[in-house]
């Protein structure tokens, strides 16, 4: 069998954890792609997908903490992980800087996740071999 030519992917996640399967499916894909020698250029959280960036997620002890799983993976692989700032702010996802800017008394987004604009997604559209969308599904 001939070797598969490496491909670079950007993964766009639009489904929230514990509401949809999107973050789990995307993580399974990302792990498989990396182990097959492909690159993940960027993970971009959009719409309800930004909830994956919340460090305040408290999953029951017998369930997987998808925020932690994703955080560990992107830190190990050094993959840029971006939550769309417009989607995030509307949904109460703020980092330290935005918490100060909007005078909020807490923040729930921290590295390796960052809050940035849709320009990051546009950049992926022009540079990644493939941009894949992991959506809520389930009739939504």
């Amino acid at each position: 069998m001939s070797a598969v030519k490496p491909v670079s992917f950007t993964l766009v996640i639009t489904g929230a954890p514990y509401v949809s399967q999107a973050p789990q499916t995307a993580l399974s894909f990302a792990r498989a792609a990396v182990s097959a020698g492909h690159a993940i250029d960027r993970v971009f959280l959009y719409g309800d997908g930004v909830h994956l960036a919340s460090s305040l997620c408290c999953a029951p002890s017998d369930e997987v903490n998808w925020h932690r799983e994703w955080s560990d993976f992107i830190a190990q692989q050094q993959i840029p992980a971006v939550a769309c700032i417009a989607s995030a702010l509307r949904r109460g996802l703020v980092d330290d800087g935005e918490a100060r800017r909007y005078e909020r008394d807490a923040h729930n987004v921290q590295p390796p996740f960052r809050l940035l604009g849709l320009g990051e997604w546009v950049e992926s559209m022009t540079s990644s071999s493939r941009v894949l969308y992991f959506q809520p599904g389930g009739g939504h």
Binding site: Y46, G47, A86, G117, L118, W121, V122, M125, T126, Q135
Partner: protein, 115 residues
């Protein structure tokens, strides 16, 4: 690179259409060719004279009016969906182009985005 962004959600029942529109506007802002296609219940975005003030939302017509100014190439509408909702061009905002959605239409674009 040319991108088709499809809006197939109703204008006020879901935020998805607005976030699709934001994607299209961002592409245009970075000088990337982008076209919008409204289909299914999404064609209701195109109705002229919307007044959603009573449900505390801003009319999406303003977003559509801004589309050509910001460089979005065209506002396409699925002809069948327009008929399903009893809409004709005279009831729509200006600049809408009815089209038949078929594989050859989608094949004209390098990427198709549908949230």
């Amino acid at each position: 690179m040319s991108v088709l962004v499809i809006v197939d959600r109703s204008p006020y029942g879901s935020w998805s259409g607005r976030e699709s529109m934001d994607m299209a506007l961002s592409l245009a802002a970075f000088d990337q060719p982008v076209t919008l296609l409204f289909s299914g219940v999404g064609v209701n975005w195109l109705r002229a004279g919307q007044d959603p003030a009573s449900i505390f939302q801003k009319a999406v017509e303003r977003n559509l009016a801004a589309a050509p100014i910001f460089g979005i190439g065209a506002l396409l509408a699925d002809q069948q969906s327009l008929e399903d909702f009893g809409l004709d061009a005279s009831q729509c905002v200006t600049g809408v182009m009815p089209v038949t959605v078929e594989p050859t239409l989608l094949a004209r674009f390098d990427d198709v985005v549908c949230l």
